[in-house]
Every structure is written in C-alpha cells, then in structure tokens.
Amino acid sequence: MQHAVEIQSLTRVFRPKKKKEGKVVTALDSVDLRIDRGELFGVLGPNGAGKTTILKILSTLLLPTSGKAYVAGFDVAKDLLEVRKRINMVSGGEISGYGLLTVRENLWMFSQFYGLKSKEAHRRIDVLLDKFGLRDKDKEKVRTLSTGQRQKMNVIRGFVTNPEIIFLDEPTLGLDVNAARTVREFVVDWIREDRNRTVLLTTHYMMEADELCDRIAIIDDGKILACDTPDNLKKLVGMNSTLTLSVGGLNDISDFDSIPGIGNFSSTMDAGGNATTLRFILEDESSVSDIVSTVLGKGSKILSLQKTEPTLEDVFIKLVGRGLE
C-alpha cells in the first residue's frame, strides 16, 4: 500500500542572506520517514529540532535542499496541486483569519480556497462547531474569542476541508486542560472514523504524544534519533515497570519470589504495623495478575496499587542526553 507520507534523505539548510549576518542552520539532516495511511504519527522534539520544517516541506511551503518527500504518493516539490488537494495544516498559537469576521464566516472563507460549495461548507461547519462546543459562538466576531476558542476554530478550519492527511503543528500549544482534551479527543475520533485518514502531529508534550500516537519519531538537531511505537520506544530505555502495592493483613511473603516475570521484589512494614508495602520490578507485565492473585490468596486486602512505567521523557533523555524543555 502507498504510504501517506514518505521522506527520503531529506535535508533542509537555511543560509543567511549575507554571510556576515548569521550562521548556516541545518534544520533537517538526511531524514528518512514512512507514515502509513490510518496512522496517527507523532514527531517529538524540542524547539528548533526540525519538526516544523518537516511540516512546511510536506505542506509545499518550503523546498527541500536535497532529498525527496512524497505525500499520498505525490512529490511535494513537483506535484504541488495534487498534494495541496489532499492536505491541511493547523498550527498552535495560530492567529489566522480576520477579527471582524464571525467564526462561521472565517471558516467558510477558508473553505472557499478549497473549492467547497457553500452549502456543503456550512453543513461541515455545523457538524464541527457542535463537536467542539462552539455552536453558540458561530455568529461571534473572531476578535472576541478566547485563546482556546480561537484555537478550536483553527482546528475546525483544518478539518472542514476533510483532508486525507492533516498536519498538526503543536495544536494544543497554550490551551487550557479542557480545550486541549477536546482537541485530542477529536483527533482520535477523526482518524478512527476512516482508516484512510492520516495525522502527522508535532509536539513537545510527552504525554500528548504518548496518549495519541501509534508511532513516534524522536527528533533533535534535524536528525531522527528513534522511530517506533511508544511502548517499544520505552523499552529502549532498558527500564522495567514497577508495581507498588500497599497490603493489609499480610503475614507471609514467601511465595512472591517464585512468581514468574518478577525481576526484583522488596517488602517493608509501615510504622504502625498495619500495612505492608510490596515493590515489584516487572520483567513481564503479565505478572501483575499473578501478584494480585497471590496477595488475595493469602487472605490479605489490597489497600492501594500503583504501576509506574518509564516515560517518553526517559526515552528522550537516554537518546539525547538532556530533557525536552
């Protein structure tokens, strides 16, 4: 099957207008990437890593210095119109549109650049306004909207043309928790509705990438350092998950050592002697049910249970040698 996005040895160099004015910046350095249709693919990296440059090239706004990039099988440097018909892009912190137009008018205006019939455009706008809870704002001028409402409108602008492939460049940047959640939930629902749709999301929010993405590429200094599913990336760290239980009425801890899939095990009694804290290093995640069964089988009561996993931040630190922020 044709890839939604294919990038081959993509390099992008920015040169200053005059040699004395600055240094040459290599924003992308021989990047290779393949994204399948139906994937929600994340590019995770710090500011200046090259995330936005990838999106600008894929959305035909920037030419590569060398290498090739294809969107839906079309060359982004040559088949501009074919690429543009199939894509849209939304950026975080975007202030596009015109403040004196209403939300609906702005959305309609942008839909016209994609050749949508007005009736169809308004139908789609209605559906999306409902999904984002902005229906009551559709006649409000854009300049009266809050940051979160405006960003929701921007997201609607990107989706109203029903693109095959959408590029989301830090779409939840600066949004409050609720607005960010609305955007994330919508993106997941949108891609599930039709497996031919593809989302390429750039973000520097670890949690967002972990929660949303089927696969993630970690990028730094214009290079892809790793690309895999979030779970597989976490395995790169070489850290195991930890299970911590607080158990009441436990007198015998002899059987826990023999449960398969446990790398290490420790127990401590709390100061009052009423509860025991058990800490397991899990080599195999499926051992959780055995541990719970064993505790309950001893007639003990589980007071609390917490599983701690390595995060994408751990992965990033291991790969780059520093944190993301």
Partner: protein
C-alpha cells in the same frame, strides 16, 4: 471537492473578497475617515480655484480627483501591503498551501477592495457635488464605464504586482507606500489637468493608470475637459488596455517569483527567517 479549476478559482475570489465587502458594514466609521475627511482636501482645492475665478469645471476636476484618491490609497495600503500583513498574521501560509490559484486570492483582494472603494468614492462624489454645485455633462456613459473599468483593472493589476514586491521588501514596504502618496497625487494630476506638467512628465506619470483614467474621465464628464486633455480618450483607453495586460502579467510573474523565493529561503512562512 471542486467541479473544475474555473469554479474553484471563482469560489476563492469570492471567499477572499468577502472580508473586504463585509468589512465596510462592520466598521461604519469608514464614512467619516474615507468620505468626510477627504472632503477637507477637496474643499481646500475648490476654494483656491474659486478664489482664482477658475472655470467651474476645475472644481469638478477636484471632486473627481478627490474621489479617485480613494482608489490609490486602497492600492497602497490594502493591496500592496496586504500580503505582508497576511504574512504577519499567519494567513499567507494558509493561502499558499490552498489548492487554488494565488492569482485568484489576489483577485479576490482586488475585487473586494474595488467594490468597497467604489462605494466610498461614489459617496465622496455625491457629497462633493452637493457641497460645491458641480455640474456634470455626461455625453457617453458607455465610454465612461469602459474608461473606469480599464483604469480599475490596470490599477488593481498594478496593486497585485505591488503585493508581491512589497512582501519581498518586508518592513521597508511601508516607507515605500508613504513615498508614493503625495508625489503620486502630484504627478498623476488628481487635482489639476496633468497636461500642465508638460508632455514628457505627463507621459511618465501615465505609468500610474489613474493618470490616464482621470484625464479621460474629465474629458467625458466635463464639456470643457477636452481643452485640458493630455491625450484623446481613445488613445488613453488603448494605453490603459496595454497597462492592464502588462500589470496582470507582471503580477503573475512577481507572485511566482515571490513564492519561489519564499520556498527556497523560508522567508514567507517561517517567522524567524
């Protein structure tokens, strides 16, 4: 998606024209700023001509010229500077990414600006005519419409060309706009017959379509206008037609060059560039 490129581009023109068309209704203050304030300049010239006991049609020239300045200001501040402004607010990359002709986007800006400014100019003419008792004697309305149409196509073609050039100039473009106000008011003969400047100066000023457009309109609207004419109406229409083609072609090339340069340097869509 679209039925064909023509319909798709017409939708893009309509879409981009819309903010300008609706803008006047959302900001009623335009009547004060764009109609009332220019009347002071018109009144100034009108009283000078009255004081000098000039022929009555000179006051008509001033009213007509005063109305036409609205189009020149619209070209400078709402056409030429527009793409630069669109870049600043983030719309430009959305326009460039859309599957439509960039010329359609510019044409939408032009159509919206033209309609909006025509309403302003018409209001200026009406108020000016009432205030200064200007008497029109229109012999050939069809020719007048043709002159107005070719003047506007050439003028807005020039504005479309400027839009890309201003974008390349960046922030300096605003100085260029300021530079092109008073000198152009003078050279194009907004308030006096351009023939007064002499043939070669008037010929040079004819690169600005308003020069010939105004001269032809004066001849058509005021009976004595032919005596003050620079060239015959037919010649001026012919030259304006050539300017229409030249500016449209140059606008297309300037736009392509701007887009190419933007894609190679990143100057148009990356703010740090």
């Amino acid at each position: 998606m679209s039925e064909g490129p023509l319909k798709s581009n017409l939708r893009a023109i309509r879409g981009r024209a819309y903010p300008r068309l609706i803008g006047s209704t959302r900001e009623p203050s335009w009547f004060f700023f764009d109609v009332v304030l220019p009347l002071f300049t018109i009144a100034g010239y009108a009283y000078v001509y009255r004081f000098l006991e000039a022929d009555a049609e000179f006051i008509g020239y001033v009213v007509l010229g005063g109305a036409m300045t609205a189009f020149w200001l619209n070209i400078l501040w709402s056409m030429a500077s527009q793409l630069y402004w669109e870049k600043e607010i983030g719309n430009l990359s959305l326009y460039l990414m859309a599957p439509t002709s960039r010329m359609a986007i510019l044409a939408g800006m032009a159509v919206g600006g033209l309609v909006e400014t025509t309403i302003q100019a018409a209001a200026t003419v009406v108020v000016g005519v009432i205030a200064f008792d200007v008497i029109f004697s229109l012999g050939s309305p069809v020719t007048l419409i043709i002159v107005f149409a070719v003047t506007m196509i050439a003028l807005y073609g020039m504005g479309m060309m400027f839009a890309s050039l201003y974008l390349l100039l960046g922030r300096e473009a605003y100085h260029l706009s300021s530079l092109m106000m008073e000198p152009i008011y003078f050279a194009t003969g907004f308030y006096f017959p351009v023939r007064c400047l002499g043939f070669w100066a008037a010929a040079g000023a004819s690169i600005i379509p308003v020069t010939l457009g105004l001269d032809a309109m004066r001849q058509l609207i005021f009976p004595a206008g032919a005596d003050d004419a620079f060239l015959s109406v037919n010649t001026e229409i012919a030259v304006l037609c050539v300017l229409c083609v030249v500016f449209m072609v140059l606008a297309r090339y300037a736009l392509r060059y701007m887009e190419y340069l933007g894609k190679t340097t990143g100057r148009l869509t990356l703010r740090w560039q």
